[in-house]
Amino acid sequence: MLMRPQKSLSLLAIAAALVCGLASAQVEQTAPPGTPASGTSAPDSVTSKAKSLLDSFMNRIKALPAAPASSATDNPASAPAASASLAAEPPAAPARVDQTKVMEITNWSTTANVVLDPECKNLVQPFTIGDNMASLASLGAQIWGSGAVEKLLGQASNSPDPKAVIRQAARGLNWLPMDLEVMLGQHMLKDEEYLAEDKNKDVAKAYKKARDILADLQKDLPKDVPYQFQVYVRSSSFGNASALPGGIILVDRDLFSTGSDPDYVRFVMAHEISHVLQRHLTREYQARLLDGVDSVDGLKKLITSMNEKNPQAVLQYALKVKNLFVNFTEDQELQADSCAMRFMANTYPDKVALHHKLEHVVQQLGPITPAQQLSADTNPNTLPGVLKHLSDGVYERHPNTERRAQNLRKGTPKAFAQGV
C-alpha cells in the first residue's frame, strides 16, 4: 500500500516544516555553555519561528476532517482526554495494522531513542497516511488541552515546552513516505555485494532456503503490511544478516550451509524483518535530521571557534553527540531481538520448547566474558577517538552479548503472551 502522492507531499511539507523550524532551536537546548549556536536565529526569532510553526501546524490539524476512518476518536484506546497530562502512560496500542494505529507521543527527552518500545508491543509500526494524521490529530488535541499554546504565547502554564512537543512529534511519527523508503533501500542495495542466484547450484539452494524461511515468517504478519520483502545471499560466512529500508534483507551464506541451526537462522531473519517493520533505519534518518545535523554542525563550530580555550567542554559535547547515536542503535537492536522473540513464540506455542529454542539462540550469540562486561563503561573515550567515530559516520554499535542475553531471557514470557 503506497501513499497517494498528494497526501505524501502534504505530510512531507509538515515534516519539513518541523525539521527546518526546529533545527535552529536544537543547539540551544543540547549544547553546553560556550557552545556557539549553529543556527542564525536569535532566541526571540526562534520563539517567533516556533509560534508561527505551531500556528501552521495547528491550522493543518484543524483542517483534518478529511482523516475520517482514521480519526483518533475512532479509537477509544488512544483518544486523548482534553485535560490529559502529556506525560501520562500511553494506553496499549492495537496490535494489528489493519486498524488505524495512533502513536502516542508522550515521552519528553532530548534524544530520539525514546520512541522505541523495548518490548516490541507493536510488531509493525504505523505507516499509513491515516495513521500519521491520526497521531498528529491526537497530539494536536493534547497540545490544546495542555496549555502549551498559552506557554508559547508567554502566559503562565505548567505544560511542556511547545518546541519540544513539536520536535517530539517529528521524532515519533513515520513521516518519511513509504515509496521514498523503498527507493532508499533500492539505492543502498546498489552498494551491497551479494551473490547472483544463478552462480551455481549451491547458491541457488541457499536462496531457496532463505526465501522459504522468509515466506514462513511473513505468514504471521498482517495481510496489509506494505513491504514486499526481498532476500539476497551474501558471499560472506559470518552468520550475519542485515536489513535495508523498504524490506530488503541480506543474509550471509553460511546461515544456509550444512550444520547451521535452523532456529538460529529463523531468529536472525526475524530480527532483520523486525528492523524493517519497526522502520528503524528510516527513523534513524529522521532522527539524524532532527538530532544529528545541527548537533554535529554545532560540534564543528565549537571546535572551530574554541581553539585552545576548553578542551574538556569539547570532549563532553562530542561524547554527548556520539552517545546519542550509539544508544539509539543499541536500543534498536534490543527491540529487534524482542520482536524476533515474538515471531519465535508463534512458531513454538509450547512454552518449554520456546524457552529451549531461545536459550539455544542465546548460546550462539557468543560468550559473555568478564572483560566484555567491563568494557562498555570503563573504556576511556578520547576526543580523537570520538571525533574519528563521528567523522567516519560509524554510529552503529551492537549491545554486548550480556545485554542481548538478558533482554532475551527477560522477554521470553512476554513474547509468549503476546505472540505475533
Partner: protein, 223 residues
C-alpha cells in the same frame, strides 16, 4: 590418423571458443550508487578488456567480471542494520586458501579493542583455543584441519564478539585453482590486470576472502 584429425578439430574449436571470450566490462559495471571510477580505474578497465589473460578463463563472461569489478570499486562497504557486528577483514570466511603456515587470522584491525580470546571449533569439538590472545596475527596449522569440514570461530575482544565459519578446499580443487592462477600469471604481465583476473578466478571458485585480499592490493595500486 583419425585421432590426430579429431585432436586438430577440437583444438581449432577450443581456440575459436577461447578467442570468442569477451572480457569487456560494461559501462555501468560498478553498479554502485556513487561514481567510484577515476582515470586510473578507467585505464584498468580498458586494459582488462584487452588482456590476454581473458583467454585463460574458460566460461568467463562480462557479467561475472562485473561482479568482481563492483567488489573492487565498492570495497567491503555494507549498510543497513546488521544482526551482529561485522568481523574484521583479516578473518577467514567461506572457502579459504591456506598459506604454508596455515589458516591466518589477521586481527590487527581490532587490536586496539583489546584482544581477549579466539576459539576454533568443529561442531562441539574445540580444535584450537588462544586465551589469553597475545598475538594480532594467529596461524592455525593446516595439520590441525581437514578439507571440506566447516570450522566455526569466535573472537572476543573487550568491546565485541565476532564470529565466522570457514573450510579448506579438497586437494583436487586446490590443485585446479593453482593451475588457473598460474595460467593468469603467465598470460598477463601487468600487475594490476593480473591481480584483477586472479581475483576473478578466486571469485568463480568462491574463495571470497582470498579474492578480497587481492582486490585490496589492487586498490593500493590504483589509488
Amino acid at each position: 590418423m583419425k585421432k590426430q584429425a579429431l585432436l586438430g578439430i577440437s583444438t581449432l574449436l577450443l581456440t575459436g571458443l577461447v578467442s570468442a571470450q569477451n572480457c569487456t566490462l560494461p559501462a555501468n559495471a560498478s553498479g554502485n550508487s556513487k561514481s567510484s571510477e577515476n582515470t586510473k580505474t578507467l585505464e584498468l578497465r580498458d586494459q582488462i578488456g584487452k588482456s590476454p589473460a581473458c583467454a585463460t578463463l574458460p566460461g568467463i563472461t562480462p557479467k561475472k567480471l562485473s561482479v568482481v569489478w563492483a567488489a573492487f570499486l565498492n570495497g567491503n562497504r555494507t549498510g543497513g542494520q546488521r544482526f551482529d557486528t561485522v568481523p574484521p577483514a583479516g578473518t577467514p570466511t567461506g572457502k579459504v586458501l591456506p598459506s604454508a603456515q596455515g589458516v591466518e587470522f589477521d586481527l590487527r584491525a581490532v587490536q586496539a579493542e583489546g584482544l581477549s580470546m579466539l576459539t576454533l571449533r568443529s561442531g562441539q569439538n574445540v580444535i584450537a583455543s588462544f586465551s589469553p590472545l597475545t598475538q594480532a596475527i594467529v596461524q592455525v596449522p593446516t595439520q590441525q584441519l581437514k578439507p571440506e569440514v566447516a570450522y566455526d570461530w569466535v573472537l572476543v575482544t573487550r568491546s565485541a564478539t565476532y564470529k565466522g565459519r570457514f573450510e579448506l578446499p579438497a586437494a583436487d580443487d586446490l590443485k585446479d585453482l593453482k593451475q588457473q592462477l598460474d595460467a593468469v600469471s603467465a598470460a598477463e604481465s601487468d600487475p594490476k590486470a593480473r591481480l584483477f583476473f586472479q581475483a576473478a578466478v578466486l571469485d568463480e571458485a568462491e574463495f571470497y576472502g582470498a579474492r578480497d585480499k587481492l582486490l585490496a592490493q589492487l586498490r593500493e595500486l590504483t589509488p
